[in-house]
């Protein structure tokens, strides 16, 4: 017989799995949309627009899956996630703008790319989640 926490854990596991599937699909379609024009369909703008549209729609699905995941957590897990998101957003905005200014002012030789910002936000969120979980352990 499945207990309530068994149900709670199963629901969290199911929501996590769904989020992982949506994220994987989003990354895959983004890779196709990014590399396809040169490598697969020879810069055909119609095909490019189609794949960018598909990628955007899957992105919306991923956002919904993330909402379901967060709403399925218990109150302490939600607090940890909220704090991690706040830190990731703050680091992303402050760090991203500082990095952009360093690029504009030619202080750094690397060209500031949006992908660098996405990596920064992702890594910050992961670290904040781990630290948050350790703090309440």
């Amino acid at each position: 017989m499945e207990t309530k926490t068994g149900k709670f854990n199963a629901k969290t596991y199911r929501n996590t799995r769904h989020l992982a599937y949506w994220t994987a699909a989003w990354v895959l379609t983004m890779a196709i949309a990014a590399f396809g024009p040169k490598l697969i369909w020879n810069l055909d703008t119609t095909v490019s627009a189609l794949f960018i549209g598909i990628n955007t729609l899957i992105g919306v699905g991923m956002i919904q899956a993330n909402r379901r995941y967060l709403n399925g957590l218990d109150e302490m897990q939600r607090k940890i996630s909220l704090e991690a998101m706040a830190i990731a957003l703050g680091v992303g905005v402050v760090g991203g703008l500082s990095y952009g200014m360093l690029d504009i002012a030619k202080v750094v030789s690397v060209h500031a790319e949006i992908s660098h910002l996405v990596i920064l936000i992702g890594v910050t969120y992961l670290v904040a989640i781990v630290v948050g979980n350790l703090r309440y352990k």
Binding site: K4, K7, F8, D74, E75, M76, Q77, K79, N133, Y136
Partner: protein, 66 residues
């Protein structure tokens, strides 16, 4: 916020996982509440108190537990 959850659990020979089961949160959350690292919301505090057949004041007291 101080609480008597650990004692109440022990009196009833109940594990953290079983309590978490009953109030539908993770075992980690019960552990964090017991050790005073996390203060539960009012609805969760009521669920825990109701489970032990006590009033909320009998389970949770104002004050630092750490």
């Amino acid at each position: 916020m101080k609480n008597r959850i650990k004692v109440l659990r022990a009196e009833r020979d109940m594990t953290q996982a079983q309590l978490a089961d009953e109030v539908e949160v993770s075992r980690q959350t019960i552990n964090a509440i017991e050790t005073g690292k996390f203060d539960p919301s009012l609805p969760l505090a009521f669920r825990i108190a109701r489970l032990f057949g006590l009033s909320i004041e009998d389970v949770f007291q104002d004050g630092e537990s750490r």
